[in-house]
Point group: C2
Chain length 335, copies 2
């Protein structure tokens, strides 16, 4: 029924060498003469040989699998993470495993336990907000499971990490709005536990100071979602002296602010300029399209996966890599 797959033994027989030699070629080990290499490669191609992952990971120490540990309410974000990691895995013949931790529940410890006990993985890519969850990081380290964090905020330097310069990106937003002539600003903060939101806020405020802004910045607090964005927007826009430009810390809440503006009869960007952060899918699904900062999520994720594949199994000597972001001006802040 099923076509039986060729094994390393078949290849060895065809090439006229021992299996071990084939193994060496497959794994790119040194010290195999060019002639033998060629013979083996030809045999592999002829038989369509593909190593049996389960056998490899049973015999060796690697699992040939990278895991993603996530708990992100935003499907857009999560999918981007996956896309990047997937590309890296496919390139190296690795598999991608998805593990969803629900950190809102009260059995987090058990969930981690269950996941890590079962997971046969060469490393985990950890995404926000888990990146800043000490329990998660501890659990990984106790088991000596390598991991890389994407856009972490707390515990700098604790692990392999990929990030962008949130502060400078927010500052660019400030410059952008300032250049458009705005002088009264509003801010929609993220959830308290999302550290990057804090960094963005600081960068934004510092930049305004540098620019010589004197009027106080109105701040409102919300989650990172559409719903609370509406509330925050309504609050800011009904102040006695409302801002003419609002910076929301992510796109979803920016979309909420736009909705609030519409409900109040305000036209974007004529009456109010709005900027978000992430360049997620919403940014181009609202009208007018949202000015935002492109966060290279899949690039970060891809780099994370490559890192984990390359360094084969250690948390020692963590690497920190910064990936470039990009300001994306769109209609929502047009003059």
């Amino acid at each position: 029924m099923t076509v039986k797959r060729a094994t390393i033994v078949d290849v060895a027989k065809l090439a006229g060498v021992s299996w071990k030699t084939v193994s060496r070629v497959v794994n790119g080990e040194a010290n195999v003469s060019a002639g033998v290499q060629a013979k083996v490669r030809a045999a592999i191609a002829q038989l369509d040989y593909v190593p049996h992952t389960a056998a490899r990971s049973l015999a060796g120490s690697r699992a040939y699998t990278i895991g993603i540990l996530f708990d992100n309410p935003s499907p857009n974000y999560t999918m981007k993470v996956q896309t990047g990691a997937y590309a890296a895995c496919r390139a190296s013949g690795y598999h991608l495993l998805i593990e969803n931790l629900e950190s809102g529940r009260d059995d987090v410890a058990q969930q981690i336990e269950a996941i890590l006990m079962n997971a046969r993985v060469d490393g985990f890519i950890v995404t926000p907000p888990l990146t800043d969850n000490a329990a998660v990081l501890d659990a990984l380290e106790v088991r000596a499971i390598p991991y890389a964090r994407i856009a972490p905020v707390s515990f700098p330097g604790r692990s392999n990490a990929l990030s962008i310069d949130d502060g400078r990106a927010a500052a660019e937003i400030a410059h952008h709005l300032w250049a458009l002539g705005h002088r009264r600003f509003g801010l929609v903060n993220g959830p308290a536990d999302h550290g990057a939101a804090g960094t963005r806020r600081a960068g934004f405020l510092a930049a305004l100071d540098d620019l010589g802004n004197t009027s106080p910045v109105s701040e409102s607090y919300g989650g990172f979602d559409f719903e609370t964005g509406i509330g925050a927007g309504r609050y800011l826009l009904t102040l006695a002296d409302p801002p003419t430009a609002i910076f929301a810390m992510n796109d979803d809440s920016a979309a909420g602010v736009m909705s609030a503006a519409a409900q109040l009869g305000l036209v974007v960007p004529r009456d109010i300029a709005i900027a978000g952060f992430d360049d997620s899918w919403v940014a181009q699904s609202v009208w007018p399209n949202l000015t935002t900062v492109y966060q290279p999520i899949s690039e970060m994720s891809q780099a994370a996966a490559e890192m984990l594949i390359a360094r084969g199994g250690t948390n020692a000597m963590p690497e920190q890599i910064e990936i470039p972001y990009r300001l994306v001006p769109r209609a929502s802040t047009q003059p």
Copy 2:
């Protein structure tokens, strides 16, 4: 460094039985006396024993992994599929593997080849639009890889499948709009290759006929995305005798129509009622919130995974399961 994991041998020693007996208990095989069962379970619990997936799949025939084969531009959709499948897998100790096929490229055959050659999976969950891609289905069947399709349209009965009654759901939309007093209707079609869109269209039109509708339904054509939704909406709304209610075949394009309405100075739902399909994330991210049909995507996906896990490895005797949908009336069609 790493805590060595207990193996089946350790458990057997502790319980005072042979490994094979432990294996039997772990796999829930029949013919193990109650007393031995209890002893073995106690030993397993005490040692935190978890079977080694790679070893199992090497020795046995199962891979303890379910794959998702997708090529969906909508992250929301894909994430829902994953969530459902993940729940089913976790419940049975299975792993979830993600494979992304890019059917837009011209090397589809090679991609399938590469994926299926490498994939050690007990079955694939296939999502639209791949569900209706003959090359994909053929490739799976040639290799005798079990699979279940989610919301397929073409090739009915060809495989295990999970679906909703698209036609009846669209008919309910028609009834809903009719009951609100609308008599002039517009339709935004989906891409030609998306069969479910056709089914929805047919159901919608048939229902209007049944209701005694006499005025012709204006149709426009678009993709399934926001961008083309705008174009379709603008077309419909600038007709000489424009509709008072528009049904777009998915939420993204419905959001586009709403945007077009806003650009034309029309107020939803006062001037124009708009309904979508899917109850995706956008539906609640636009204002006013979108009336739509809840598509139980993660339920379908979960059922698909359970099916594949349960029937352990065959495409014979495919099962067809229908999952209930739900009309979700929201503000966009409010009187």
